[in-house]
């Protein structure tokens, strides 16, 4: 991976307005994608494995479903740990700071690399899950529940990203990850007890009306708010810390 820059690519880190040096942002994004390619590959294999055991039987369905969610959550956390936390631990950030990169470019590069590497598999997995439920004998009533769980998992990832960008110690970020993962189970517990979801989860009816659509929209809105606020805050910073 070449990090050589031409004069035209060199940014002016001291600029106060929010301008981006896209050639450098692109190189930083590629660098992150390159560094975590093996990690993504391993999780994709895990996701395929979890999907393949879902059809084996009743307990295998639960095992596969839990493994599947764990893989999606694990992919997000592992990827943030590899690209953001390790960057500080292994002094790579200090190296990046020596390059003509502004905090704005850095924030944008991190947003793009972590969101692209998470959002694309997340989106494919969500669409695949919906298609699998829709096309197989599984009850279609599961679809709203599955989509909402997917959005909640994405929201957790966005909050963790925000925390990893803001908090400077590995322990604090890990605490956030653990906390959010602990909250996921109660979220599922309460979600499945939403009357509109509970009443239709084992039926062929896909019911969005009422609370399910509200929870979904709230989740999407929360994702947008978390990402924009966090990005805006970091992009306006004058220094990396």
């Amino acid at each position: 991976m070449s990090l050589a820059y031409s004069n035209s690519q060199i940014a002016k880190p001291e600029t106060s307005s929010m301008t981006f040096n896209f050639p450098i942002v692109k190189k930083l994004v590629y660098k992150d994608l390159y560094l975590i390619r093996k990690l993504i590959a391993a999780y994709v294999a895990g996701i395929i494995f979890s999907l393949s055991i879902i059809s084996l039987g009743e307990w295998q369905f639960y095992m596969g479903a839990v493994l599947f969610i764990s893989m999606v959550v694990g992919l997000g956390n592992h990827q943030l740990s590899a690209t953001l936390i390790n960057e500080r631990k292994e002094q790579t950030l200090s190296f990046i700071m020596s390059l003509p990169v502004s905090p704005t470019d850095y924030a944008l590069a991190k947003l793009l690399s972590t969101m692209v590497t998470y959002f694309i598999p997340w989106f494919l997995i969500t669409v695949a899950s919906v298609l699998v439920i829709w096309l197989t004998s599984l009850p279609d009533g599961l679809i709203p529940f599955t989509v909402i769980v997917s959005v909640l998992v994405l929201l957790n990832h966005c909050i963790t990203w925000s925390a990893a960008m803001t908090l400077e110690t590995e322990g604090a970020v890990l605490a956030v990850m653990i906390g959010l993962n602990c909250f996921l189970n109660p979220e599922l517990y309460f979600l499945i007890r939403v009357p509109e979801i509970f009443a239709h989860i084992n039926t062929p009816d896909i019911v969005w009306a009422g609370l399910p659509i509200k929870i979904l929209l709230l989740g999407v809105a929360a994702i947008v708010v978390v990402l924009t606020t966090s990005f805006y805050f970091h992009a306006r910073k004058k220094s990396f810390y």
Binding site: R37, K38, A41, A42, V44, A45, I48, F49, L51, S52, I53, I54, S55, L56, L131, V132, L135, T136, S137
Partner: protein
């Protein structure tokens, strides 16, 4: 990512002379495996074993058809997946992993997305039409007719039908990408350098868990949910095919032994056929454990041995560059994709005819191949469909 950094690829360098030339025997073998699939599906209409679940099951049926049809069934798709793995490896070596994914998205994923709904529609339309028009209905047609007369019954779960191989290949290519980053060279070297009969025994043992989880003869993994056993059976053949490309001389190792492997396979098939249930139903018949283990061992050994026999014979006799084989290899993909709706439609028309089994089977096959070939030349060979399935060709190409 480029393919020059072979240290990272963890693969041996294949014979460079194969990189620029077409591997005719592999192309021809793949075409024959696909054509064998058409013959297999056509013969199932006259199978005694499948009369209860095959839509075009005919009143003219014979146990001899079963005896002849189930033997190639055990190894034709393993051969196909091994060849798919072989070409995947070739593409990775020549153009890199990114190109493999792009190329396969165009050749495998896109045809699946386009043709699956069309085939599904064609099969359902012809099935519903036959349920009304055919007089000597099969059990399935009878059920469809009953379902049409009693609306409200749940429809059968959708499946990937005969295009399951494309669906499974998509996962295998994804897994090729994931395993590409990990060093499997030691396992490959151990496995591929085993002596011929040791290789047959160990590979068969590795296939047994997957086959034990299924009824015999093994069904098609045509569900939309990825099937674990398919990874443990067809996936392993794909992986071995991937390695075969990286081990020049692997196929040659089996050439002196093909007769023994063939004879053993035929003997094992006799045992297999004797032990399997003589009627296949949607719910698998439970078998005694000893019976299940023997059947599965036979199935695994036949699949491995006959795949190797096909490779050995292919390398010896099919490394041909002639017009007929080229047309066969080019058209086989298209014919295979369209053959099931076509075959069903033809066989429904033959159900009420008072012809003998051989005539009905011959007519169904001849018409399927004829329509497949004509439609290939008219609709596919020089059109975007052909570019998608086989790549762009030059006008002066043989």
């Amino acid at each position: 990512m480029n393919s020059t950094d072979n240290a990272r690829l963890h693969v041996a360098q294949p014979d460079i002379s194969t990189l620029g030339t077409r591997l005719y025997f592999m192309d021809n073998l793949r075409a024959l495996a696909m054509m064998a699939g058409v013959v297999f599906h056509a013969s199932l209409a006259h199978s005694v074993m499948l009369q209860g679940i095959w839509p075009s099951a005919n009143t003219e049926r014979s146990a001899i058809v079963d005896m002849l049809a189930w033997f190639p069934h055990i190894f034709r798709m393993p051969v196909f997946f091994l060849i798919a793995g072989f070409f995947a490896s070739l593409l990775v070596q020549k153009r890199g992993i990114g190109c493999l994914l792009k190329n396969r998205a165009l050749r495998i994923l896109l045809p699946l997305v386009i043709f699956l709904p069309l085939c599904m529609w064609a099969v359902i339309a012809s099935l519903m039409n036959a349920a009304v028009t055919v007089e000597h209905k099969s059990a399935v047609l009878g059920m469809v007719a009953y379902g049409m007369a009693h609306p409200g019954l749940p429809p059968p779960p959708p499946s990937t039908m005969h295009l399951w191989f494309l669906y499974n290949l998509v996962f295998f290519y994804l897994l090729t990408w994931t395993f590409y980053f990990f060093d499997g060279s030691r396992i490959r070297q151990f496995f591929m350098q085993l002596k011929p009969f040791r290789f047959v025994a160990i590979f068969s043992l590795l296939l047994m868990p997957a086959l034990l989880s299924q009824s015999a003869p093994f069904p098609a993994p045509d569900s939309f949910l990825p099937q674990l056993w398919s990874f443990g059976f067809f996936g392993l053949f794909f992986m071995v095919g991937y390695w075969v490309y990286q081990e020049p001389g692997f196929i040659e190792k089996f050439i002196p032994h093909w007769k023994i492997l063939l004879i053993c396979s035929l003997l094992l098939y006799a045992v297999f056929y004797w032990l399997i249930p003589k009627e296949v139903s949607l719910t698998a018949v439970p078998l005694a454990l000893w019976k299940k283990i023997i059947i599965t061992a036979c199935e695994a050994l036949i699949a491995v041995s006959m795949t190797l026999v096909c490779l050995a014979l292919g390398k010896t006799y099919l490394n041909l560059r002639n017009r007929l084989m080229r047309i066969l290899s080019d058209s086989s993909y298209w014919i295979y994709v369209i053959h099931v709706p076509l075959l069903f439609t033809i066989q429904y028309q033959l159900m009420d005819k008072n012809w003998n089994l051989i005539t009905k089977l011959g007519v169904a096959l001849a018409m399927t191949f004829a329509i497949g070939l004509v439609s290939y030349f008219v609709l596919v060979r020089w059109t975007p469909i052909g570019w998608m399935l086989n790549g762009k060709r030059k006008r002066n190409e043989v």
